[in-house]
């Protein structure tokens, strides 16, 4: 692998790792491991931990994918490995 591709791959892995950490924190963290602690906080009619487990985590998942898509498209162009427009 040449240096350019290695650098591209490294950036890619770093981005994925960051997003995966967020993914883990909202679902397994807020929704499962710390659910009891968060449930003591109540916003509107929701206990916060319960809300993350049944609503919030799903919204964050959607957002994460679109952040990933936009960052990767930028990265592809930066390293000139994007696909042709046609």
């Amino acid at each position: 692998m040449d240096e350019q591709s290695a650098a591209y791959w490294k950036r890619n892995v770093k981005l994925v790792a960051t997003l995966t950490v967020i993914w883990f924190i909202v679902s397994y963290g807020f929704g499962i491991l710390f659910v009891d602690a968060l449930n003591s906080i109540e916003i509107a009619g929701f206990q916060l931990g319960f809300w993350f487990a049944q609503q919030g985590s799903i919204y964050v998942f959607v957002a994460l994918i679109f952040v990933y898509v936009s960052k990767m498209n930028k990265l592809d162009r930066e390293f000139d490995v994007h696909e042709d427009d046609d």
Binding site: F46, Q54, Q55, I58, V62, I65, V69
Partner: protein, 588 residues
């Protein structure tokens, strides 16, 4: 117009639509048959993926499960959505770049091994048949309740429809019918939810109504639900009695299993570009989230409605319970199907619905003169009965029937296609009869799809007693066998043939062995399926997570001590990591 006639019309129209699309989108090459010619728009593919993924279980059963499990139902909500992040970031773009037709094909090429490919095909076929039996069952339930026909007739009609568009249209036909099916099912799911949310809280958005105050009480819905159910001896709605580690493991097994399911992965082979594969996963999750964020609201509202319909007054008061004679019509209709039943144990002519397994509350109930819980409700009816409970117009009920069928058929078709491509492309063309022409392969694919439909129909009509038990299998196997080898194939250049085969077999045998030991399936369970007996307190539903970890460990360890992959394989891995140069459908 009466309900049955109306239902016939709505369901009939939806079928006519699917068939029309099938005729318009007939596949004429293997590329079109397997991957729709790789020309599907990413948003359209996202919608098709959503329909492909959301099965009869998502549409019919999930909200009911959540209604009775409360917080415990979160494992399905997070587990069946979170996998899309893994798909988008770890699998879909790279597999699209690789650019072939099937999942086992990637595994076979990456690990330069026909054995690996065959192990993958076997996993794929087992996972897919497990699933498809459940879909056919869903079609049967909907037909028998709403169209008042025999389950067999319903199955034959359902099989006929799938046959037309899957066998003729292949992936191309399936894709566009799935788009139509998504529209039918999401409308059918959300309309009753919006009506009920509005009736109950004055807020039409189910996602918000769920956290609003119940009309006329000033009490938040979830708070009220907690009070109402605990008064009857049930567990508080927003908690669970499952251990944290088990909730964790089940969620992980479902997430990773989702990302490893071949019929989902293959949908990302159908888009034109790598970047489309990424965004398509995002769109898929948007369309899925519409239903998945509505479902917990539907579950909570259904539980509250059901409980308050029966417990009309104070708990323990003589006239606090619904009199059987005055029960609403929807209960009478569902009693006829056997999915709801009443037994007047204390002979007072009223329905008592409470948790008699809770010893403390059972003692109190005995003081009220209650002799045990008298109502049994199959959780599968909660979504289907919802519009009737909320007294919505007949056309909504008809639409829900069409939606349930759409959910089941769209998933069944996707599964049948991966089974047929596994047989015709991986087993025949790829392994046993490589000399086939494209025309012969296409014919083999069609025949395999037709045979698979017949087997699926048979399984739907004679569901083996173990269908419910083997669902854990499908996710456990996908998580512990396919997912790790695909990930390692992309993110490591060093994992080799020996490592991958050893890893897959370890994950597979461990997970299968564990589930069989506790669930039996073909024989009596060897060990009682109770939390005390579980390894680390992890239930068979969650054990795929441990299988996955073992797969990774074994694969890396074995690869370390055996020869590294040949140079051309390492180059192939480097190549799939960059988007540039992804072609259209590859003929080979």
């Amino acid at each position: 117009m009466d309900l049955t006639t109306l239902t016939y019309i709505v369901v009939g129209l939806s079928f006519a639509l699917y068939i029309g699309i099938a005729i318009w989108a007939k596949a004429s090459t293997t590329g079109e048959f397997y991957v729709a010619g790789k020309g599907v728009n990413p948003v359209v593919n996202g919608m098709a993926t959503a329909a492909d993924w959301m099965s009869a279980a998502s549409f019919i059963s999930m909200a009911g499960l959540i209604a009775f499990l409360g917080y415990g139902g979160s494992v399905y909500l997070m587990g069946w959505t979170g996998g899309y992040c893994l798909l988008a970031m770890l699998l879909a773009p790279y597999l699209r770049k690789y650019g072939k037709f099937t999942v086992p094909e990637f595994i076979g090429d990456r690990y330069y091994s026909k054995a690996a490919r065959i192990v993958a095909v076997i996993c794929l076929i087992f996972i897919s048949f497990t699933y498809v039996a459940g879909q056919m069952r869903g079609v049967g339930i909907v037909f028998s309740r709403f169209l008042e026909v025999e389950i067999l007739t319903g199955l034959i009609v359902g099989m006929g429809i799938v046959f037309i568009y899957a066998v003729l249209g292949g992936m191309k036909g399936i894709t566009y019918t799935q788009v139509a099916q998504y529209c039918v099912l999401i409308v059918a799911y959300t309309i009753p939810a919006i009506f009920i949310a509005f009736q109950l809280t004055g807020n039409p958005l189910p996602q918000l109504a769920f956290g609003s105050t119940v009309n006329g009480t000033g009490e938040y819905m979830l708070e009220r639900l907690n009070n109402v159910v605990t008064e009857l001896g049930f567990l508080e709605y927003t908690t669970t009695n499952k251990s944290t580690i088990d909730v964790f493991a089940i969620t992980a097994a479902l997430m990773v299993g989702t990302a490893g399911l071949p019929h989902v992965i293959v949908r990302f082979f159908t888009v034109p570009k790598v970047r489309d594969a990424r965004s398509s996963a995002g769109w898929a999750l948007v369309f899925i989230a519409l239903l998945y964020t509505t479902a917990p609201a539907v579950g909570a509202m259904a539980r509250l409605n059901l409980t308050e319909t029966i417990q009309t007054g104070e708990v323990g008061a003589e006239d606090g319970n619904l009199s059987y004679e005055e029960r609403p019509d929807w209960m009478k209709r569902w009693e006829a199907t056997g999915l709801l039943s009443f037994e007047d144990k204390n002979g007072d002519g009223r329905i008592q619905y409470y948790n008699d397994a809770n010893a403390e509350f059972a003692a109190k109930a005995a003081e009220y003169g209650w002799a045990g819980n008298e109502l049994s409700v199959d959780r599968d009816i909660m979504v289907l009965a919802n519009p009737e409970i909320a007294q919505l117009p007949n056309w909504v009920i008809a639409l829900v029937a069409a939606g349930g069928i759409a959910a089941a058929l769209s998933t069944a078709a996707g599964l049948l296609l991966v089974i047929s491509s596994g047989v015709s492309h991986d087993l025949l063309k790829g392994t046993f009869t490589p000399d086939m022409t494209e025309g012969q392969e296409l014919m083999a694919g069609r025949i395999a799809a037709a045979v698979a439909i017949l087997i699926a129909g048979y399984l739907g009509y004679n569901p083996p007693g173990f269908v419910a038990q083997v669902v854990a299998f499908a996710f456990g196997l996908a998580a512990s066998s396919l997912f790790p080898v695909i990930i390692m194939g992309i993110f490591s250049k060093k994992v080799n043939r020996e490592g991958a085969i050893a890893g897959m077999l370890t994950g597979l045998i461990f997970t299968m062995g564990y589930i069989l030991a506790y669930k039996g399936v073909f024989f009596d369970p060897i060990i009682a399926n109770t939390p005390d007996n579980w390894l680390f307190g992890i239930s068979p539903e969650g054990i795929g997570t441990v299988g996955m970890v073992l797969n990774f460990i074994v694969a890396f360890a074995v690869s370390k001590v055996t020869a590294e992959p040949p140079a051309h394989i390492q180059h192939m891995v480097e190549d799939i990591r960059v988007p540039k140069g992804a072609g259209g459908a590859v003929d080979h």
